[in-house]
């Protein structure tokens, strides 16, 4: 059916084109022979083809363009006729003898164009006549094209300022009147198209109508091109009359298109100076008009205009552009009761962008926008329109992007209120955007209130909501979110410890409320932030009074830390908690707070005993405990004894023999502090080492019994190293590093150096004999038949021996010490 229609149309078009061409041919002949009468006759016949009602706008345009080309030739002919002495006045009458109105008016416009050019009558009179006479075509499509033709031929003949057709007085007004009138009539015709024809074809008609819109809009473009249209004229004449037409036509398509047209074709300066008038029209538009897009583009243009040059900014202030836009948006929303939320948000979003660009210094404006937006949103409850929420995110992101500082956004009191309108998911997205912004710009948040506000904003991330359903898919995302929060916590900083403490307290409050799932992510950063503060408190070379205050603060912080880590027990995350306790203990150690450090250690021990059951984790935890404990210097003998005793006890209770062995020889360090005034209990060191040796033996026997091969010769070498203290501390560290990080072979190697370590450190309990015995033992073990050849162990042993040799040759006290050792 439709296909037939299109086919038919093609047929009609080709028939009409053929008719047109034929008459054009006769017209050309008449033109060539200077036969005016025939020229008029055939041109009128040619133009009669345009009287068709069968073509769609698209096809009609094709036909029109053909006629248009022919009319140019006719116009040239008319012009030449007048040069040959034919009176243009007579010619102007002659063309009006045509009986059919459409050809008559095309000819009249063509003759009128020549008439104006002849200057035998004022351009304004001719134009006025033409535009009036065109009223005879009330058929929308034909009328639009006729008037479009009129507009086309008159464009370069308007009595504009500086134009050769300019008359004596105020002829710009005539030019403007002419274009405005043509515009008005065209728009009426255009709008009328909507109502003509059967209702079922309405959609198709609207589509066709849309294709014709540029014919109408062209007039506005012409208006904007008239030199004489200055601001005054635009304000007093052009704009009111255009708007009157736009408003009164009550047509959705036309209103949308024309408002956009006005905004696009006229200069920004005009818009700025006539904002009242322009904006006044918006609430009067049809409710279905997509005002948001139009208004947004206006605001965008104005923003760009403001950005284009600093000189125009005062104008914005002068006309109070912001209030006007704000009011207008309010009115539009009021007028269009059914306006979707998306549109509302888009409008405010644009306004916000505008004010951020134009008045970056006026935060109150931005806040006002958010406030208005919130007022509108609060009525509708949580949003479920994904488009709208996306817009809100854009709205809320705008201040962040603009100021690149979340602090500014936090000053906006309505910001959180708007954020509350978002659904949970979007709220999270927004929170992430905020955090990303902070990260990107390395914004340090340094004010308690700000932190409070910020955490209020990102509540979606730090707190479970009642109906939040966390499924497996979200797991990754959840982690990511929480890592973001963790990073955020590091961005909180204030130089003043008091203030910083306040911040920490606030954050603590928030994260503790955040539910167990989040704690493993959020607690550690806060703990470290707090520890950093503690360290900062120590570093300050403060006065006595301040010192006292600092001490008090420290205490408070430690209390806080305790609570904080305790919270992890609910998770539970014992390994993490243990590490944190140890960190805190170390900090307390640095602050010379023995009871505090002791408390933290106790907590760590309790965790170790009660919560950590996995043997591998136990090993790790124990290593940490020993390592930390070794560095503690704050403890008195009693506490120290208790703690080291416990640690040693734990070591001996480890499940696997090698683990036991290593833990025990690690414990030996607990009795030998590096610094001079530390603990140096050589006896107990030896005890430990001996015990380790015993365990190593047991381990070897076990291995022999079960597998038929000894695997633990390395343990011996490790212990030897402990004995022979021929390593510098630094090298020891290196080894320890590798011990912790590398594979099993290196693990064993590292441990064996312990003996050497103590030997060198001057532990008197470690004697040459002990070392010698051990070395022999190792050599024997390695040569024994049932020992598997272990190249790594051999290399390790060889290295150890080489080291001893080296130390011997080095000379000095160390060398002397090594002298008796035979290697």
């Amino acid at each position: 059916m439709i296909a037939d229609g299109i086919e038919d149309e093609e047929k009609w078009l080709s028939a009409a084109s053929a008719g047109l061409q034929q008459n054009a041919f006769y017209m050309h002949r008449a033109l060539d022979s200077n036969n005016l009468k025939d020229a008029l006759k055939y041109s009128a016949q040619m133009l009669s083809e345009l009287r068709t009602s069968r073509l769609s706008p698209h096809k009609y345009y094709v036909l029109y363009m053909r006629a248009f080309d022919e009319l140019r030739k006719l116009e040239i002919f008319f012009y030449e006729e007048t040069k040959r002495g034919c009176s243009i006045i007579e010619l102007y009458e002659l063309v009006q003898h045509a009986g059919n109105i459409l050809p008559r008016l095309y000819l009249l416009c063509t003759a009128g164009s020549v008439y104006i050019k002849s200057k035998e009558a004022p351009a304004k009179d001719i134009l006025k006549d033409l535009v009036e006479m065109c009223r005879g075509i009330q058929h929308p499509l034909r009328g639009l094209f006729l008037r479009s033709y009129l507009s086309q031929v008159s464009r370069d003949k308007l009595p504009d300022i500086g134009s050769e057709y300019e008359g004596d007085d105020d002829t710009v007004m005539d030019a403007v009147d002419f274009v405005l009138q043509n515009f008005t009539e065209m728009n009426k015709l255009w709008v009328r198209m909507r109502y003509q024809g059967p209702a079922r074809e309405k959609d198709r008609r609207e589509k066709e109508r849309s294709e014709l819109r540029d014919l109408v809009g062209k007039n506005l473009h012409v208006l904007s091109q008239i030199e004489g249209v200055d601001l005054d004229m635009y304000r007093d004449t052009v704009l009111p009359r255009v708007l009157e037409q736009v408003v009164n036509c009550k047509d959705e398509l036309a209103q949308y298109y024309l408002m956009d047209c006005i905004i696009q074709v006229f200069p920004d300066e005009f818009h700025l100076q006539t904002l009242d008038v322009l904006l006044g029209a918006f609430p009067q538009l049809q409710p279905s008009v997509d005002i948001k897009t139009v208004l947004s583009s206006l605001m965008e243009r104005l923003s760009n205009y403001a950005a284009s040059s600093g000189e125009v900014l005062p104008q914005f202030l002068q006309v109070d552009a912001f209030s006007k836009l704000n009011n207008a948006i309010g009115k539009v929303i009021e007028a269009q009761a059914d306006m979707p939320v998306l549109a509302v948000v888009t409008l405010y979003s644009s306004l916000l962008t505008f004010t951020l660009h134009v008045h970056p210094d006026r935060l109150d404006y931005a806040d006002q926008v958010l406030g208005s937006c919130f007022n509108k949103l609060s009525g509708v409850g949580k949003l479920d329109d994904s488009q709208a929420t996306k817009q809100i995110v854009a709205l809320l992101s705008a201040p962040l992007d603009k100021y690149n500082n979340v602090m500014t956004a936090l000053k906006l009191s309505n910001y959180p209120r708007v954020m509350e309108c978002l659904d949970i998911e979007t709220n999270k997205v927004m929170a992430k955007i905020i955090i990303q912004n902070i990260m990107k710009n390395s914004t340090y948040i340094s004010n308690g209130d700000k932190v409070e506000a910020l955490f209020g904003l990102i509540r979606g991330l730090i707190k479970d909501t009642d109906d939040a359903v966390c499924n497996e898919d979200d797991e990754e995302e959840f982690k990511e979110d929480q890592n973001a929060v963790a990073r955020l916590i590091y961005m909180l900083h204030h130089d003043d410890p008091e203030e910083m403490f306040k911040i920490i307290t606030i954050v603590q409050k928030h994260i503790l409320a955040g539910g167990v799932k989040r704690l493993p992510f959020t607690v550690p950063p806060l703990v470290f932030t707090a520890l950093k503060l503690i360290r900062a408190l120590q570093n300050g070379d403060a006065s006595k009074a301040e010192e006292a205050a600092a001490a008090a603060t420290r205490k408070k912080i430690f209390q806080l830390l305790n609570q904080l880590i305790e919270a992890l027990s609910n998770v539970p995350a014992p390994e993490l908690a243990l590490r944190l306790y140890l960190q805190c203990a170390e900090a307390a150690n640095d602050s010379d707070l023995e009871p505090v450090a002791c408390e933290f250690f106790t907590q760590a021990y309790i965790l170790y005993e009660e919560e950590i059951s996995d043997s591998r984790e136990q090993v790790t935890a124990l290593q940490l405990i020993i390592g930390t404990l070794q560095r503690m210097h704050v403890f008195g003998v009693e506490n120290r004894d208790t703690l080291t005793h416990k640690a040693t006890g734990y070591s001996a209770k480890l499940l696997k023999k090698p683990d036991q062995c290593r833990a025990v020889y690690s414990c030996s360090h607990l009795f030998w502090a590096d610094d001079q005034d530390g603990v140096r209990d050589g006896e107990r060191v030896l005890l430990c080492l001996k015990r380790a040796l015993k365990i190593a033996n047991a381990a070897q026997q076990m291995a022999n019994a079960t597998r038929g091969s000894g695997g633990s010769v390395i343990l011996f070498i490790e212990i030897l190293n402990k004995y022979v203290s021929s390593f510098t501390f630094v090298e020891y560290c290196t080894v320890r590093f590798s011990y912790e990080n590398q594979g099993s072979i290196m693990t064993r190697c590292g441990s064996k150096f312990r003996y050497l370590y103590f030997f060198e450190k001057g532990n008197t309990q470690i004697t040459v004999n002990t070392i010698q015995d051990l070395m022999e033992l190792i050599t024997t073990e390695m040569r024994s038949d049932n020992a598997a050849t272990d190249p790594a162990a051999e290399a390790f042993f060889a290295n150890t021996l080489r080291y001893i040799q080296f130390q011997k040759q080095k000379g000095g006290a160390v060398s002397e010490k090594y002298e008796p050792v035979k290697a």
């Binding site: 009986g99 009558a121 009223r135 075509i137 034909r142 009328r192």
Partner: protein, 337 residues
């Protein structure tokens, strides 16, 4: 040679005995207007108006070697009307006679001056243009007026008739037609025509023509204002119609003819639209309005506004206008705009 002579002689026997020519005194300078002959040719005929002196010469030239005996020669100026229903009968509303010669004989060319002073010619030459029928009677004097006859049309004509009266041989008659046009001054009162018409709840329009009296080269300016449109109008035309009515009472016969059909509007207007009218009368073949010519007939003109809807129904309103002939030199330039 002989043969030729005899042919000449024979021909001469049936030829008119003399040649009569009628010339007006200012024939060369007088304006002439075209009149269409029966055979389709257009001839130029001198133009007069009422109260003019009609002066000229009539020359009678006998055929070589012949004499004309006559009972007197006269010239008549006749104003005649022929009615369509009474074809062949003429009503003379003007009849003036000048005796040119007393009975006698004419041997050679003789010229008679004549003069009709300030002749009252109240009616213009008028050809009712309608179905034309050729009349095949060469003796019919109407031939000379227009060489055509009309069926269903009315004619007003003026003619100079020269008669050489003879006894048994029959009179020799020669006709010479001329055209009379009478000019009117612009009317002192010339109101516009303004009217609101319509069909209830369907169509209401108000139209206005700038005058009620137009001269023949005038231009009709006006507008149509749509007060109510509930029908789907396709287009609107303005027609100029001529109405000839002849006879009176029960015998009144009316012939109407549309002389112009001028499209004013294309498409359907909405309420509040006003459509301009500008119709130049000059291209159309119009005459002045004739009212009750010698109690025989009238010619009236009407403007007929016709609206056609999409079902091709016609809605119209006819309004008489008076046409008059304005002296050419006094025709004020028609404003173009």
């Amino acid at each position: 040679m002989e043969l030729t002579m005899s042919i000449n002689y024979l021909l001469g026997a049936f030829k008119p005995a003399c040649h009569i020519s009628i010339t007006f005194a200012d024939e060369k300078n007088r304006k002439k207007v075209p009149i269409k002959k029966e055979n389709g040719q257009t001839v130029m005929v001198p133009l007069f108006q009422s109260q003019e002196n009609i002066v000229g010469k009539i020359s009678v030239e006998p055929v070589q070697g012949k004499k004309i005996e006559h009972n007197g020669i006269k010239v008549e100026l006749l104003g005649q009307i022929e009615m369509y229903f009474d074809r062949g009968n003429f009503y003379d509303f003007t009849s003036l006679v000048r005796e040119l010669d007393v009975p006698g004989e004419i041997y050679e060319r003789k010229t008679y001056p004549f003069e009709f002073s300030t002749v009252e010619m109240p009616y213009e030459t008028y050809n009712g243009v309608n179905v034309r029928l050729r009349i095949d009677d060469p003796e019919d004097p109407l031939n000379l007026l227009n060489n055509t006859a009309q069926c269903g049309a009315t004619l007003t004509g003026y003619v100079l008739k020269v008669t050489i009266s003879r006894g048994y041989a029959g009179s020799i008659v020669e006709y010479h037609d001329f055209v009379v046009r009478n000019y009117s001054p612009p009317p002192s009162i010339n109101n516009s025509i303004k009217m609101e018409v319509g069909i209830e709840d369907c169509l209401h329009i108000e139209f206005e023509y700038n005058k009620s009296k137009y001269h023949l080269k005038d231009v009709i300016i006006g507008k149509i204002y749509f007060l109510l449109v509930r029908i789907k109008i396709k287009n609107m035309d303005l027609e100029i119609r001529r109405r000839e009515s002849t006879g009176s009472g029960a015998n009144t016969h009316v012939e109407t003819e549309t002389l112009a059909k001028f499209e004013l509007m294309d498409g359907a207007p909405v309420r509040g639209e006003s459509i301009p009218i500008r119709l130049f009368l000059s291209p159309y073949d119009l005459t002045p309005t004739h009212r009750n010519i010698n109690n025989k007939f009238s010619v009236k003109y009407y403007l007929n506004l016709v609206l056609v809807d999409e079902e091709d129904r016609r809605y119209f309103k006819q309004q008489e206008i008076m046409l008059y002939r304005l002296a050419e030199n006094s025709t004020s330039a028609v404003s173009m705009l």
